[in-house]
């Protein structure tokens, strides 16, 4: 039995309105909506679905290919994991979360550029409301202003394209922009880039990230760092590696911006003293890397980076938010030894951090290896050098944090029990189980990378790229 993909948008949106009316049972409606969506996402029909009764180039269509399937599965599972970890914090935002989920599914699935704008605004409004949980209204306001300016830019770019091509449908847009001069496309493509860069956390528009993610709790941190940002990056990938493939000039501008974002993010993370700030700068850096890959056309490695970052940040941001609530401090030196009392969570956090750095036998290694191999196959050496340098910095700050959190005190001394912070449990049982499961997923997909790659791209490639640039399947002897 296969279902219509429009249900992925319609069910959470409908339940969001029901949750507004029945406030008493809204947490059960939230749980129902998220669970139904997380199951349904495996049973949706592939292909292009017209909605609204118009034929496809004239009406709005939903496109479910391998790329958007990977996107919606990731988003819905992450949303489920996020509410399992911190259901108490999520339940009062039930309508907002459901509407946001509908918006994100719509963003990834839609085949129409204006419809994409509408879904991006729905998602953004739900994100603004969630950010108000940080009790820093000035930061939420800042986020709202940056988001609104970005969306005006997006709309301006979209209308300029519409004026040139006469269509809003992504497939037709791809065809018709092929006939246009690069100089004509320069301005609209850059305007659209600015609009999407807000949610994707790329540098010129990433000013909101520090204020919002730096004050996040164990629920909103996960939503911003892994759910919303993955959705935005999937949209970035759809637009810049399929619909508006940037030509040489625009491509160089976008890739440079993305790489600068990567480098600046890693450098700022290295300088930061607070756990959540390190994590948020690391998120900015990973977004930059994924955006650079998407803009170059390496879709499969980019999706691997997005998935790795999403799972890693799910574990790390939920732990960081929870640590801040329990111990009242965010400084990782002040949190020394917190993992000695929470061994399982600590192990999950360690696995996530090492996977983000790209340690062998973890999923992150496969992702990094694919990134490097894609560039080296193409004959580019500058970008891999930047990526490797960033990875060294990344490894340095993550190992610094891990040492502090496991072993307090001075270097070279054995940790004493009394040097650790007090004995407080970070997560509830369900939260611990969810975090452990995510960590097991990272390890398993690291041990069986080709199976994981097949799950992400069943046909071998996404949006017409070559798929895995490198295979880690251990060959049986003499199988040359």
């Amino acid at each position: 039995m296969m279902f219509n993909p429009v249900l992925l948008i319609a069910i959470p949106l409908g339940l969001a309105f029901i949750a507004v009316i029945f406030k008493k049972i809204q947490k059960w409606i939230l749980a129902l909506g998220i669970i139904v969506n997380a199951v349904l996402v495996f049973f949706v029909e592939k292909g292009e679905t017209a909605i609204g009764g118009f034929k496809i180039p004239f009406g709005i269509s939903l496109v479910l290919d391998d790329f958007s399937a990977a996107g919606v599965i990731l988003i819905n599972i992450l949303a489920l994991a996020a509410i399992v970890i911190a259901f108490k914090k999520a339940e009062k935002f039930a309508p907002v979360i459901l509407a946001g989920l509908a918006g994100m599914n719509g963003m990834i699935l839609t085949g129409d550029l204006f419809n994409l704008f509408v879904f991006m605004e729905i998602t953004a409004i739900s994100a603004y409301i969630l950010s108000s949980e940080g009790r820093k209204p000035a930061q939420s306001f800042n986020y709202l202003v940056i988001g609104s300016v970005g969306s005006v830019f997006y709309l301006l770019g979209l209308i300029l394209l519409y004026n040139q091509t006469g269509t809003l449908n992504m497939v037709l847009m791809t065809e018709k922009t092929g006939f246009l001069e690069q100089t004509v496309l320069l301005l609209p493509v850059l305007l659209i880039f600015v609009g999407i860069a807000v949610e994707a956390k790329l540098l010129p528009m990433a000013g909101w990230v520090r204020g919002v993610l730096g004050n996040s709790n164990s629920y909103t941190g996960v939503m911003f760092a892994s759910v919303y940002s993955s959705a935005a990056l999937f949209v970035f990938g759809r637009i810049f590696s399929q619909v508006l493939v940037p030509g040489t000039t625009v491509g160089i501008v976008i890739i440079t911006i993305a790489l600068v974002t990567f480098a600046a993010g890693q450098a700022s993370a290295f300088r930061s003293k607070s756990l959540r700030q390190v994590l948020l700068y690391s998120s900015i850096a990973q977004s930059g890397l994924a955006a650079a890959l998407f803009a170059t056309g390496f879709v499969f490695p980019a999706v691997l980076v997005v998935v790795n970052n999403a799972i890693g940040k799910l574990i790390m941001f939920s732990a960081a938010g929870s640590l801040e609530e329990k111990y009242g401090t965010d400084d990782y030196i002040g949190l020394g030894g917190a993992f000695n009392k929470n061994t399982l969570t600590g192990i999950a956090f360690t696995i996530a951090a090492l996977s983000l750095t790209g340690l062998p036998l973890l999923f992150g290694f496969y992702a990094k290896l694919n990134v490097l191999a894609a560039y080296l196959n193409q004959g580019t050496f500058f970008v891999p050098a930047v990526v490797l340098l960033g990875t060294i910095v990344e490894g340095a700050y993550f190992i610094k944090i891990l040492i502090k959190l496991w072993a307090p005190g001075k270097e070279g001394e054995w940790a004493d029990a009394d040097q650790s912070v007090g004995d407080k449990r970070i997560f509830s049982y369900t939260g611990t189980i969810a975090v452990i499961l995510a960590a097991v997923l990272v390890v398993l997909s690291g041990l069986l990378p080709d199976t994981a790659g097949k799950l992400i791209a069943p046909e071998g490639g996404l949006l017409g790229d070559d798929g895995p640039a490198i295979s880690l399947l251990i060959q049986k002897g003499g199988d040359q």
Partner: protein
């Protein structure tokens, strides 16, 4: 002509957002930008001498030159989204005022 005026409105709105630290004035700037982009979209869809894209007894569809209805549909959506964002922005403005007693972001300081 009106096209350029609307682009100018977007620039004026951007200037308004960047030149002040008062939250209400920033929201006014955002609204000016949104009005600018809305007029720009309608102006892009305009055909000189075109009739309004509404079918009626004295406007039978086959006889007349119409302006682009898609652009108008986009603007209707965009106006409503703009209202939602403005309302949410005013809620944040109220929260800022409640917490800090001022609308001026420069009086609040960086870390709050």
């Amino acid at each position: 002509m009106i096209k350029f005026a609307s682009l100018l409105l977007i620039v004026i709105g951007l200037y308004g957002i960047l030149s002040t630290r008062n939250v209400i004035k920033i929201l006014v700037g955002i609204n000016v930008m949104e009005i600018g982009i809305n007029i720009f979209i309608i102006a892009i869809g305009f055909v000189n001498g075109g009739a309004a894209p509404i079918l009626s007894v004295d406007n039978p569809g086959s006889l007349l030159k119409f302006v682009d209805p898609v652009a108008q549909a986009l603007v209707l959506t965009s106006i409503v989204i703009g209202l939602g964002v403005t309302a949410l922005g005013l809620v944040f403005a109220r929260k800022i005022h409640k917490k800090h007693g001022t609308y001026d972001l420069s009086e609040i300081g960086g870390e709050s």
